[in-house]
Symmetry: C2
Subunit: 232 residues, 2 copies
């Protein structure tokens, strides 16, 4: 007997993600990449066909995406992929400004060893950004800087909120890359935030972080307006 290989209790790492998880990730990816144009209306049936599951996981994934603001479920009608207006972008930036500003201030209030350690990490990302060869690499390092900033601040809810609004803005980011804003100006601004953190000055950190994101917002919004983009 016992020919059959006995499975372990915890079979090597975590078990495969559920179909809901897969459908959620795939659907979200498709939305962010604008494979589904904003405003399009889909049915669970066709999505199930596309992702190779039944309708149930699709439906549950849609519920999650609706909670995040990426789609709207129209009862008895279908699933609507939400379109973002420039107004939405503005709202999202204001959330980012409020949260990141406080995150920077919180870090600046930490005891010196901790905040210096964080500052070092932030500085490394900024250096990586400065040294980056192409726009994409720079953009990636930029994102890493901001992610690190909010994850290090000691308030997990800040990170959650930013992750949500970022996923809303992600589709717009795809367009942004094509517009190629002058990301170089970010480097000294990042350094200003880092300096305020090192100095342990929460107010200055707050102001620097807000000024940085505010500048980016003020640069991007007219850009979008100029290109006459009504939605994303």
């Amino acid at each position: 007997m016992a020919i059959a290989v006995r499975r372990r209790r915890k079979p090597a790492g975590k078990s495969r993600p559920s179909l809901v998880e897969q459908a959620y990730a795939a659907f979200k990816e498709a939305i962010v990449r604008a494979e589904f144009p904003p405003g399009i209306q889909l049915s669970a049936q066709e999505l199930a066909l596309r992702f190779g599951t039944s309708r149930t996981p699709i439906h549950e994934a849609s519920l999650r995406l609706q909670e995040e603001g990426l789609v709207r479920i129209l009862p008895k009608k279908g699933i609507l992929v939400c379109a973002l207006s420039p107004e939405d972008i503005r709202e999202i930036y204001e959330v980012i400004i409020a949260i990141e500003g406080d995150a920077a201030a919180r870090i600046a209030r930490m005891p010196e060893p901790e905040r210096l350690a964080i500052a070092e990490q932030l500085d490394a990302e900024t250096a990586r950004m400065e040294a980056a060869a192409d726009f994409e690499a720079r953009s990636l390092a930029d994102m890493a800087f901001h992610t690190r900033l909010v994850e290090a601040c000691g308030n997990a809810r800040f990170a959650t909120i930013l992750k949500t609004v970022n996923s809303q803005a992600a589709r717009a980011q795809v367009f942004m890359v094509q517009l190629r804003p002058n990301i170089e100006r970010s480097v000294p601004e990042h350094r200003a935030i880092i300096a305020a953190i090192c100095a342990g000055d929460p107010d200055l950190a707050q102001v620097s972080a807000r000024a940085h994101r505010g500048r980016v917002r003020d640069e991007i919004l007219p850009m979008l307006a100029r290109f006459g983009l009504r939605h994303f």
Copy 2:
């Protein structure tokens, strides 16, 4: 013929809420009222029995509540009603401080007629609070003030974020009522925010709003610690 009453296309108002909606509301209500003690583990089957539906609407409602942070779905094990630690309360207050501060500043930046109109509404709530006979009425007026503040600020995402964290904190509020913090101190602080808005001073509005919520936080956290409450 035609004895049967023909239904209109739009049958008088909106149709009945879906079972998911009902289950969601009922489940959330039960959690907030602490009918389900925090940390308890439930099964979809028993909830379905309690709310008179099948397991599907319960499951979907649970997904929504999980997204809001009120429960966690443990795969193949059940639904866990999340417990809040004092640390969570602190985090939630910091989100409130960041968002409400910016909301107040945004209102103060509006053109005079608009911000005066909003100030008047806020003042009315504050007056209602001052005149309230019992603690509960005062508490209600207080909540109305803060709700109005964030809904009037012109950024719908601010309101959404606050609604989410408030629903997380709602269960703790139930305990708070029993502790009866001295809510009277809020009245002059509300008036300070209103004055800053009337004066059109965004920085002062920001500082006033933050100071108000910060004071409440600094009052409540030790209170919870003193009573040795580990979770809610």
